[in-house]
């Protein structure tokens, strides 16, 4: 009896010791993981940090052979130059127009996704397969024929030509369809019995219910529209149609040596997106889990 108790006590002590040592070990490992990620995170952030700091330096300071981390002589001159010497106000306007149009595309994706999710119609599966198949086609194959088609439609060097090729996308339609299949049919039927038109059912019931997927898609659409580069570059011959990224490419060519100005241009493009991303990051990052990308 006594031996048993003694044994038990011993056992407990040993367990306690191993437990506390494993807790310590666990804590140490957590710290190591945190430190590795912090170093990695700093490395990843260097380009952003350097870009923003350099944007506020005068040109002479950027050209120094031994650069300082912080601007010695803080200036907003580079940003002013973007608008005075370059046409950044115009590029900004064009970029925002493209963003607005891409939201129209988002709406069209939602409409198509809704029909594929909630209607039975002839050829539905075949058409949906066709939509998905377009995801496999590499951009390089369609680039030249799309340009030729737009040229035939007299749409080169127009805003329509820039916007139309990327307006709808298979991936967006797919995500909307996946989400909208979960909307109960009874709800739609009830609205129809109340005499709501099909468009109204879509606008007032389906769209509000699709908010989570709308949020993800909306932010991603905004980012994609803001960053759009290749089609504006191919289609726009006139500077009046240039977007921010095309303008920045032009600036890189024209003011190749003026890194302060280039960094200001990049900051002007990147920082708004970073702010929007940080504000809405939860929707984007969790959105991948919603859309079932496991």
């Amino acid at each position: 009896m006594k031996v048993e108790v003694e044994n038990k006590m011993k056992f407990n002590a040993v367990q306690k010791q191993s437990l506390s040592s494993s807790v310590k070990q666990e804590r140490a490992q957590q710290w190591v993981a945190g430190i590795i990620l912090t170093i990695g995170g700093l490395l990843v952030s260097i380009p952003f940090i350097w870009m923003i700091l350099s944007a506020f330096k005068p040109e002479s300071e950027v050209m120094q052979l031994t650069p300082t981390l912080l601007p010695q002589d803080f200036t907003l001159e580079n940003f002013q130059n973007l608008f005075v010497n370059m046409n950044f106000a115009l590029y900004l306007k064009n970029t925002l127009i493209i963003v607005l149009w891409s939201f129209v595309g988002l709406f069209l994706n939602a409409m198509a996704g809704y029909a594929f999710a909630k209607f039975e119609f002839k050829g539905r599966n075949k058409l949906f397969f066709l939509v998905l198949a377009t995801m496999m086609i590499p951009g390089q194959v369609t680039m030249i024929p799309v340009y030729l088609i737009l040229n035939q439609m007299q749409l080169t060097n127009t805003m329509a030509g820039i916007v139309l090729p990327g307006l709808v996308g298979a991936f967006g339609i797919f995500l909307f369809r996946q989400f909208m299949t979960t909307i109960p049919d009874e709800l739609l039927e009830a609205a129809r019995l109340d005499g709501a038109s099909e468009l109204r059912v879509f606008w007032q019931i389906v769209l509000p219910m699709a908010k989570p997927v709308m949020a993800v898609q909306g932010i991603l659409t905004f980012i994609a529209g803001w960053n759009s580069f290749l089609w504006p570059l191919i289609i726009a011959n006139d500077e009046s149609l240039y977007t921010l990224s095309v303008g920045l490419q032009l600036l890189k060519g024209q003011y190749g040596g003026n890194f302060a100005l280039q960094m200001a241009g990049s900051t002007f493009m990147v920082v708004p997106i970073i702010i929007i991303f940080i504000l809405f990051q939860r929707y984007i990052i969790d959105g991948y889990t919603i859309s079932g990308m496991k």
Partner: protein, 295 residues
């Protein structure tokens, strides 16, 4: 009348999207196939009667074009170095973030995701500055450590590696998120059982986590591989293929022949070769994956 309308409704809803997809995704495939057998150029666009059918001439010419061959070599270089790097880095970061218990670890998701949402031109402009031989930050840091400066974008091989570094930086975020979503899908009970059996962290990782992530790893490797085969924006904006075409990718070769030299037929032939290569490589990967599942 009502049922007639009800029958039409879905078509009304899908029509705009389907018409756009047909005109700008499906129709172009056939147009590309046709023009790849012609000598279409700027003159041909203005006057269709001057276009002539040349059979497989474009294909024959393009496969013996030394720049095309060089661009194939470069693209393979990007794929072979880039794909494993993207998978290892994004998986490693995802595992570390998933391992962390403190709240701060969630913030790391944002930090590592950030590069992937930024504009490629802005990023290329910033990295060109960082890579600048005299004024760039990278060489300056090397100098502080008393190391010799590196010709980041001037040396043919180094330029490829520099572009891979930039693309890796941009690619980590999205793939990390995919791995994190997959990691969260692994039931906790597996780990509890393993801990009861006395398995340490490494054993848990290699016996439970990695095998269960096989599908996510496969998905990321396929999409990353396809992405690198079409590697375009980074070399286009940063180096424009230089020095001496050492960074020209197949996609950049196609773009240049199409839009800078206006050899539309020739470029279309090149793009079909790329398309077929992508299909074949993807199919091989699917085969390998199936084989891996068997044992």
């Amino acid at each position: 009348m009502k049922s007639f309308m009800a029958n039409k409704t879905p078509y009304f809803f899908i029509a705009p999207a389907l018409i756009l997809l047909t005109v700008f995704s499906i129709l172009p495939i056939f147009v590309a196939l046709i023009i790849s057998f012609t000598d279409l150029d700027l003159v041909g666009i203005a006057d269709w009667s001057s276009i002539s059918f040349v059979g497989f001439e474009n294909y024959k010419e393009v496969v013996s074009d030394p720049i095309f061959l060089k661009s194939i070599f470069n693209t393979l270089f990007y794929v072979v170095i880039g794909v494993p790097l993207v998978i290892v880095c994004s998986l490693g970061i995802a595992l570390l973030i998933n391992f962390g218990k403190a709240r701060i670890f969630k913030a790391f998701r944002v930090v590592f995701y950030m590069p992937s949402i930024t504009n490629v031109v802005a990023v290329a402009v910033v990295w060109s500055y960082l890579y600048n031989p005299q004024l760039g930050l990278f060489n300056h840091l090397l100098e502080l450590l008393n190391l010799p400066s590196v010709p980041w974008l001037q040396d043919p091989t180094m330029a490829k590696i520099s572009l891979i570094a930039l693309a890796l930086w941009r690619a980590i975020g999205l793939n990390m998120i995919i791995f994190l979503a997959a990691l969260q899908g692994i039931p906790k009970t597996y780990y509890e059982a393993a801990q009861l059996d006395g398995a340490n962290n490494w054993q848990q990782m290699f016996k439970i986590t990695i095998p269960l992530l096989r599908y996510a790893i496969f998905f990321v490797s396929i999409t990353t591989m396809i992405g690198w085969l079409q590697f375009f924006e980074e070399p286009f904006v940063m180096t424009n293929g230089g020095p001496l075409d050492s960074t020209t990718s197949v996609a950049l070769f196609i773009y240049r022949n199409g839009f800078q030299f206006s050899n539309f037929g020739y470029a279309a032939a090149g793009s079909f070769i790329l398309f077929i290569a992508i299909i074949i490589i993807t199919m091989i990967q699917f085969k390998l994956q199936k084989k891996g599942q068997d044992y």
